[in-house]
Subunit: 222 residues, 2 copies
């Protein structure tokens, strides 16, 4: 499987890239608006994984080229960029590809972070509206800490939730989750259930802010 | 400590009553609109715990009398009854009492359950508005399964989140949580953060609906 991480130079992109490169044999492709940034990040991530004795190659491309080459396209960009990003790479997406969105809309006040979904109801629904007809969209990775993923010494032992209306696409993403040691994929239902999953992101930030011993927090349903 | 469970004849009231009666020496008081129902439930719960070799006494009263006798008053009633319930017992509440609200506003559609907070922003905020001036309100227990609590053979190993603006009140509730084997209290911040905590309730229901092996689900942040 070839996985493109658009916005892959950011924290979540780095974390997912390192984990897939380290734990699996999938091809990892870093996408960025600037291809030089993508190359540099790809080389940096490959070095980190290679130093641990894994012989991996991570490539970097401009977002559109990265998406066109991939079977699974992860929109690891801020929530206010997801719609633009998926539209900018639409020509490279086909119905047998899978688009994955990990972003959550949030607002911040003195008390903490708060769910602030777009008018579509959730970022996942926004991406589904923006994606080309027939290209399946899955919401996933909202409860994963970028820092914990990027620390390859860190045990995970946590869950990654999935929402979406396309069963095949969810199976593909569930497989990519289960391929990472310590991650369990959990189906949270259809796209209409995305807002409750996306609300985990501000909740996890608030819990980390309020509890000094809970940095890089994840969640396990049990 | 004396804990009143208003609406204590319901599922969550039963679960919390059994756990506090079984694991702690706190006085458990069951409240109901009908005092006969409260007596009957109190006797039933006491029998369950007594059969396990614990010598406990659980009492039952009409909601207002139960609240007046208690240090901590848990509103174990449906979300559309919380404001009425807290107003109906207001005379028995003082500033050294603590009101606890576990309810979450939800709507249901074909896909699942969805967060549907009241216009106050959260049920916890609604209760804080309805409570007498100076009586502290804590939101808690939104992610606990009533069935799992009521099964005293069931291991917990899960978290219970707290929100509220009164530090002393949160400490009291955190203590009552930690008194139950297998429950950990986690501070999720101020009352303004309640909506994200209350969103866990529909999320947990959706996960149980979508995953046959995940009944009576709880959550652990790690």
């Amino acid at each position: 499987m070839r996985i493109a991480l658009l916005g892959g130079t950011g924290d979540l992109g780095e974390g997912l890239a390192l984990r897939w490169a380290f734990h699996t044999n999938h091809d990892v492709v870093i996408g960025s608006r600037d291809p030089d940034d993508a190359h540099a990040a790809a080389d940096e991530y490959a070095d980190i994984v290679t130093e641990r004795g894994r012989d991996v190659k991570i490539t970097g491309f401009e977002n559109g080229m990265a998406a066109a080459r991939a079977d699974v396209v992860v929109l690891a960009v801020p929530p206010y960029h997801v719609a633009d990003t998926v539209e900018s790479v639409a020509d490279g997406l086909a119905s047998d590809d899978v688009v994955v969105t990990p972003a959550a809309g949030m607002q911040r006040d003195e008390a903490g972070f708060h769910a602030h979904p777009p008018t579509a109801g959730s970022v996942t629904a926004l991406v589904a509206d923006a994606a080309p007809e027939g290209v399946p969209v899955v919401g996933a990775f909202h409860s994963l800490s970028a820092g914990r993923l990027a620390d390859l010494d860190a045990d995970l032992g946590i869950d990654a939730l999935l929402v979406g209306d396309d069963g095949r696409a969810k199976d593909v993403v569930a497989g990519l989750i289960a391929d990472v040691d310590g991650l369990r994929a959990l189906d949270a239902g259809g796209l209409a259930n995305a807002a409750e999953v996306e609300s985990l992101t501000p909740l996890l930030i608030n819990l980390s802010r309020e509890n000094d011993d809970l940095a890089d927090l994840g969640v396990s349903f049990r």
